[in-house]
Subunit: 81 residues, 6 copies
């Protein structure tokens, strides 16, 4: 059985959680457009387009909400402390 | 009674949950535009359009939030651990 | 008293919940543009527009979050099981 | 003291909650563009624009999430029942 | 120490909470574009642009979700009552 | 081991939480477009573009939801009191 690309939403710390949110955002694109060359070609466009970069940040923010909730926000206090 | 396309939001693991989020995103389009040929024709457009690919990733991220919450984030710790 | 179009957010199963999310998305448009003819005319446009179809899927995903939470995700396990 | 336009998020039923979500969406526009004439003039544009109508539905869906959560989804069962 | 512009998310009532959501939305713009003159010049544009007004309402709706949750929706019943 | 840019989501107060939400929004852009010069060049564009400024505010609002939840909304009194 091929290894899963998403074994868990649990990460060691918030930074690793943010990286996972970026990965989730990119995999959704890859699952829609599997061709690596096409995605590489499109990158030249969005990497220089502020609307696209802002939209990407919004997708990452949405996925980061999910990963952070999964990790109980890597708490170290404030949960009703 | 025809089988339901969405028997449950519970999945075995996060990867299956992500695939379900993609399915939810696509079914909403199919329920709006039921014609397979039209959707296939439109695919040639959005699959090469970075704005569309980013927006699709945002829809998947929103549906993944729902599926992840349904599955208690496939926890294996951090829920206030 | 005229019957309500939205008696409850509780549905029998996830598929009925997804249909309710689609209904919520469409009623919001109808409440903004009550004219059936105008909405039918506009349909010819958005049904062939991938950006619009993706955006519609995003609205359905947002409403499905609400309906799923209302129904405790039609659980059958994982709530911290 | 002038009466508040938003005394509470609690509504009698889901339909009243959906109407409140529409009101919240419209008040945010009014607070940004207070001139009634301008808003009336703009209405002629967005009421015939499917992208705008879809975006409006998305705002209503977001506000409906808030109102529904405030009202515990007008439950009548499924909260972990 | 200069006073904070955001001492708390707690407000007296929902209307004050909505105003705070509008303030949060505007401060994010101000933190990105600190020049008052530029923002005033841009206002002439977005105040007459229905797409922009709808998008602003969406940002306010997102911030209102946060403020409402912080204030336990200013409850007066329904939390599982 | 290089220091993490995101040691925790816990902040002293709401204002620091809002600043963290802005940082999260910007880092997502930086991780997509690492070149400082390109990002500086693009800034001249989005800082004068009201659609972009509104979209940025929406990303910050989404990240602020996450940070606020992590900090239990900096509640000075218990939720539901």
């Amino acid at each position: 059985m091929s290894a899963t690309w998403l074994p868990s939403l649990i990460t060691a710390d918030p930074e690793a959680g943010f990286d996972l949110a970026i990965k989730l955002s990119r995999v959704a694109v890859k699952k829609t457009q599997p061709d690596d060359e096409t995605r590489a070609r499109l990158r030249a466009g969005y990497a220089e387009d502020f609307d696209a970069l802002i939209s990407i940040s919004h997708v990452v923010a949405t996925n980061f909400q999910t990963v952070a909730a999964a990790n109980d926000y890597w708490r170290t206090t404030p949960a009703g402390s």
